[in-house]
């Protein structure tokens, strides 16, 4: 029993430098939120299916081998393709997924700005006109005068 304890202590001491060598370690929790269980279409941390558990085990195994977060994600992409990532990649075709919404928002804002400007321009001439009295024709002026004279009289 004493021999086993000594052997365990020696093993732990022997492995300690290796364990320290890969600090900071990749986070299991962070990786589980960045990887998708392609069978159940949820992130690994939200799934408890046999396949998700297998992937979690693979992630844990790679972390124990001191692999970085990027190395592990790259290995998963090599195995299953980019579909295994919970967020699209920021290069290649996947970039569209990031650019399109931002572009859409900018386009919407620009359309709104142009629309608002045109709308206010369309309203302004009317308001300017309303401050000026419409000009009467000589016939109308004569008629107004006649009506007023009749009213006074």
């Amino acid at each position: 029993m004493k021999a086993i304890a000594v052997a365990a202590a020696v093993t732990a001491l022997a492995l300690a430098p290796a364990a320290l060598a890969c600090t900071p370690r990749a986070s299991q929790a962070a990786l589980e939120s960045r990887l998708v269980c392609i069978e159940c279409h949820t992130t690994l941390d939200e799934s408890d299916s046999p396949f998700a558990n297998e992937l979690k085990g693979e992630v844990a195994r790679r972390i124990a081998l001191c692999q970085t977060e990027k190395q592990i994600l790259d290995a998963m992409v090599a195995e299953f393709g980019p579909e295994v990532l919970s967020t699209p990649q920021t290069h290649g075709f996947d970039l569209i997924a990031w650019v399109l919404p931002i572009g859409g928002i900018l386009l919407g804002a620009a359309a709104l700005a142009v629309g608002a400007r045109q709308w206010s321009r369309a309203r302004n001439p009317a308001s300017v006109d309303s401050t000026q009295s419409p000009r009467l024709t000589p016939e109308d002026e004569l008629r107004v005068d006649e009506e007023l004279t009749r009213f006074d009289g």
């Binding site: 299953f80 359309a111 629309g115």
Partner: protein, 178 residues
Amino acid sequence: MRAVRVVAVASVLALLGLLVWDLVHQHGPGVAAKVDKGKAVPAPELDLPRLNGDGNLSLESLRGKVVVVNFWQSSCYPCKLEARDVAAASRAWAGKEVVFLGVDAQDLKSSARAYMKKYKVTYPNVRDALGKTWPKWGVTGVPETFFIDRRGRVVPPHITGQASREQIDAGIRRALQS
């Protein structure tokens, strides 16, 4: 203002087009439903990387032989239960114009290879990493087994769940006769 209207109409039309495209490209229930009704239907295309070898293997290259297509996954319990029977059947029918083809889906390569070694699976196996072949075939879970006749048609029976040796042999005999 007119330009904004044109853009709005174009956007709506584009979204409508996308919806129609999606509806058109959706797979129906797959060949499984038709085979279950007793029909013989052309086998969907299957061309995937080999799990136990280099390059791809296509179903087309096996035309002229009866093909037993077995969908499986290493983490699936009924697959493990049937694995030895399927492997034994593949050995028994070897050289009799019958070939077995395993389709491993949504699986780690290392796990799949370990499974094959454990259950002595030596017949050709391909890997469908994302399970994209499933909708075309109408596979809803694993294991599922299909039989393809010499003319490249999927013929009944279609076995869902654990296949017994008797079911596999009966399926092969029926495919050889069709």
